[in-house]
């Protein structure tokens, strides 16, 4: 029978797949071989001391699978250093890089929280929209409070529209007063009035 039983542990391993020490993995992160860099990232996942090195490589990595391996490692590491190093990339013109950064930040709620108010107050409205995008999947009890602050104070219709969409899902009665003021605050933006009404309808229907 051509079905051949082979033990998985007997399969030959590529050199980069052998067990690495943390120091070896950090050194390998800067190496020329993409498979080696991916193995290094996998090895360093969860190692807070390696967050700096992972972020440094992430910033310059151009190989897509390697960038993904580093992103996953950073998501699994839960380090404040990661947030500090990656926040500037929310202003990046590289949409793929920026989206990956948003996804990493979404996975680090406790580490992102201390930065959120500053992000939502950023002078660049695009960065504020990306900050709301981070909130979309952020498991943090202050998400609604932050969103209410956005729809209460932000003057940019696109930022407010993004927040309204999310408030429709996560909002409670606490959001109603801020939502009620949208029509007056944005009298020239009928879409925002509609979106606020939609969010209130959803919140009001809650039992």
């Amino acid at each position: 029978m051509p079905l051949r039983k082979t033990r998985a542990e007997d399969l030959p391993q590529a050199g980069s797949q052998a067990a690495l020490s943390a120091d070896e993995a950090i050194a390998l992160l800067g190496g020329p071989d993409a498979a080696g860099r991916q193995a290094a990232a996998r090895r360093l996942a969860g190692n807070a001391a390696a967050a700096e090195a992972l972020c440094a490589r992430f910033a310059v990595e151009t190989d897509i699978p390697t960038r993904e391996a580093i992103a996953v490692a950073l998501m699994r590491t839960q380090s404040a250093v990661t947030v500090e190093r990656l926040l500037p990339f929310l202003s990046s013109e590289d949409a793929a890089l920026r989206n990956t950064v948003i996804e990493i930040l979404q996975a680090l709620p406790a580490e992102v929280a201390p930065h959120m108010e500053r992000l939502l107050d950023h002078p660049d409205s695009d960065v504020r929209i990306f900050a709301v995008n981070v909130l979309e999947a952020l498991r943090h009890p202050k998400v609604e409070e932050w969103l209410i602050a956005v729809v209460s104070a932000d003057r940019h219709p696109n930022v407010v529209a993004t927040a309204l969409d999310l408030l429709g899902e996560v909002g409670t009665e606490a959001a109603i007063p801020a939502l009620s003021r949208i029509a007056a605050r944005f009298a020239d933006e009928p879409f925002l009035k509609f979106a606020a009404g939609n969010a209130m309808k959803r919140i009001g229907a809650g039992s």
């Binding site: 051509p2 079905l3 996953v72 699994r76 809650g206």
Partner: protein, 278 residues
């Protein structure tokens, strides 16, 4: 005892959230099914309203409740030839593509994970023996892994209940199984001896580092139980373990496109699967 009520807007809100998190979309016709399980979980967690339950589901840092609800919303049991359209796809399309670019003398590698008590990898073996004409021209290695050592022991033993084999055609049951005195069925040793069973925690690089050049992965109804980060880590690990051009088959309610951009969607006559780019 009165049950907490779930309104129409609540249902829609929950449906959108659950779809985004799991890829499972409940039609309006599933309303009763969804409400029943939501109410069960609300009672189990002491939530007095949908709103308080949904807030916990949405923001709980550990995601434990989302996990519990996902378990309640998905009913999984393993049996021979389950979701057999993917095995049809394997023998009608995937393997032919795999061997078309395979260097001479390189074996075809198939990995079933989680293999549970063995129904899936044994189904693969039977499908290959019965339906893949090129089997005599290529060496095929089949790996089957699970994190649970008890199910691995049961898998290696190869004894199955009548319920487990109920979807097998009678001719195949006679050909590959022996009926035991207690009514169970023991699989032919030639079949069980062709599979390497191993304990693997998918998210532990030390466990997965041996798996290289895998051509086809069957990972059905596992990722749905992972949180977002773990799901993405798993996709990355599979990508690393697979050959360029290799395929991954997920459960019918799972979508790799919602997890990772590393794979591309391939639509075949029998099934939609995901492929590591060549």
């Amino acid at each position: 005892m009165s049950h907490p009520a779930i309104g129409q807007e609540d249902f829609h809100k929950f449906r959108e959230f659950f779809y985004r998190k799991t890829g499972i979309l409940f039609e309006d016709s599933k309303r009763y099914f969804v409400d029943k399980r939501l109410i069960e979980r609300m009672e189990a967690t002491g939530s007095d309203s949908f709103r308080s339950y949904f807030t916990m589901l949405r923001f709980q840092a550990s995601s434990e409740e989302l996990q519990a609800l996902t378990n309640a919303m998905t009913v999984n049991e393993t049996y021979f030839f389950r979701e057999s359209y993917q095995f049809d796809c394997l023998v009608n399309s995937l393997l032919d593509e795999v061997v078309a670019t395979k260097p001479p003398k390189k074996p075809v590698r198939i990995w079933s994970l989680p293999c549970s008590t063995g129904e899936e990898p044994y189904s693969i073996v039977i499908y290959l023996l019965e339906h893949w004409a090129k089997l005599d021209r290529f060496d095929v290695e089949i790996f089957a892994s699970d994190i649970d050592t008890q199910v691995l022991q049961a898998a290696a033993k190869g004894v199955f209940s009548p319920r487990s084999v109920q979807h097998l055609p009678a001719a195949l049951l006679r050909k590959y199984f022996t009926r035991l005195a207690n009514g169970n069925y023991k699989i032919d040793e030639q079949v069980s001896d062709s599979i390497d069973f191993s304990r693997v925690n998918l998210l532990d690089p030390l466990d997965t580092r041996h798996f290289r050049d895998i051509d086809v992965v069957f990972c059905r109804n596992l990722l749905i139980y992972f949180d977002d980060t773990s799901r993405r880590a798993a996709a990355e690990i599979f990508y690393n373990a697979m050959s360029p051009g290799g395929f991954i088959c997920l459960g019918h309610s799972e979508s790799m496109s919602r997890i990772s951009d590393l794979f591309r969607v391939r639509k075949f006559k029998d099934a939609i699967v995901y492929q590591k780019p060549l």
